[in-house]
């Protein structure tokens, strides 16, 4: 049990009056640890909303510095933050929103040598990365460490997300198997992204994390939510865990390894 201060009770009052959250749910949020990988288009709204929600400990990972071209969508960073490490810029905003939250920064990029140790310490992970080698690496690490996570991908006017409970629900590789070949897939830097679409998808990921922590509702297990902001059509595609999945199936993976770093700057 945790005794909330009067300040916290007031701050979280709109959560606490929610029948499905209540004081018990807010305690679960306060006792949870979430890792946000990427402090960019997806990571920005996720980190802001999780901090505001009062997640007890939030880890944030990014090895980059803020670039002027980030500011069209990466709303946790401001104009004066250009050239500042993204994790430090993000931490300052998260603590400004909610000083009750403990923010741990990892000013680095994740690879096979460090990801498992970091992921293991968290209850839930957010994939806010911008390349397939990282997305598949996160999936592998979360399956091996048995840590649930939210996959997110965005491109142009579209987004997709699914929530993965390793060894129970379908993983990213059950659906997409392995990274596409280099140059096959356009990315945000080469194909563009409507800034608000990053916000739409990131806030869905934040909601999924909070649902999981509180234990309310139906997470996006065994389904991929896709949307197209041009038509504003949302769709769920259902599937099952693939017993022959390369990562989480019968054989499965036994150790973590890096995928070839491709695609970041792929051209159409």
């Amino acid at each position: 049990m945790r005794d909330f201060s009067d300040e916290e009770l007031e701050r979280y009052s709109r959560h606490i009056i929610l029948q499905d959250v209540g004081i018990e749910g807010q305690e679960k949020i306060a006792n949870s640890k979430v890792l946000v990988i990427g402090a960019g288009g997806l990571g920005s709204p996720v980190a802001l909303y999780l901090a505001a929600a009062g997640v007890g400990e939030i880890g944030i990972v990014d090895g980059d510095v803020v670039d002027l071209s980030n500011l069209q969508r990466q709303v946790i960073h401001t104009t004066v933050d250009v050239n500042v490490p993204k994790v430090l810029s993000a931490k300052a905003k998260m603590e400004a929103i909610n000083p009750n939250v403990k923010v741990t920064v990892y000013q680095k990029f994740l690879d096979a040598s460090n990801i498992l140790d970091i992921v293991k310490g968290y209850d839930f992970v957010i994939d806010g990365t911008d390349n397939f080698s990282s997305k598949f690496l996160i999936n592998d690490a979360c399956v091996l460490a048995n840590v649930p996570y939210s996959h997110g991908g965005i491109l142009r006017f579209g987004g997709q997300t699914m929530t993965i409970k390793p060894n129970e629900s379908a993983c990213y590789a059950c659906v997409f198997d392995s990274p596409p070949p280099a140059n096959a897939i356009p990315t945000c830097s080469s194909a563009g992204i409507l800034g608000a679409v990053a916000g739409m998808l990131g806030t869905i990921q934040a909601a999924e994390a909070l649902k999981y922590i509180v234990g309310v509702g139906e997470p996006l297990y065994n389904r991929l939510l896709t949307f197209d902001a041009k038509s504003m059509n949302f769709r769920n595609v259902n599937f099952k865990k693939n017993p022959k999945c390369r990562v989480c199936g019968g054989e499965g993976i036994k150790e973590i390894r890096d995928y070839e770093a491709v695609v970041c700057e792929a051209k159409l």
Binding site: N70, D130, G153, I154, G158, C174, V175, A184, N242
Partner: protein, 68 residues
């Protein structure tokens, strides 16, 4: 025959295989999609030999690698 493609019912000529549907549906780069036929994901080596039939449900799930 009627096929449900990404949730929309479409009239498609009879007897085609999946790789022909990719062309009809303008999927220019098959590497860009994961294909689901009636709840099962297909491996790429079966696209040319998978004959589609009336009522099949097909989903093209596109890779989306952005996030930053």
């Amino acid at each position: 025959m009627k096929l449900t493609i990404n949730g929309d019912v479409k009239e498609i000529k009879d007897g085609i295989v999946l790789s022909e549907l990719l062309v009809i549906e303008d999927v220019e780069q098959p590497d860009m999609v994961s294909v689901q036929l009636n709840d099962e994901f297909l491996t790429k080596d079966t696209y040319a030999t998978t004959t589609l039939k009336e009522g099949d449900e097909i989903n093209f799930l596109y890779f989306m690698g952005g996030g930053a």
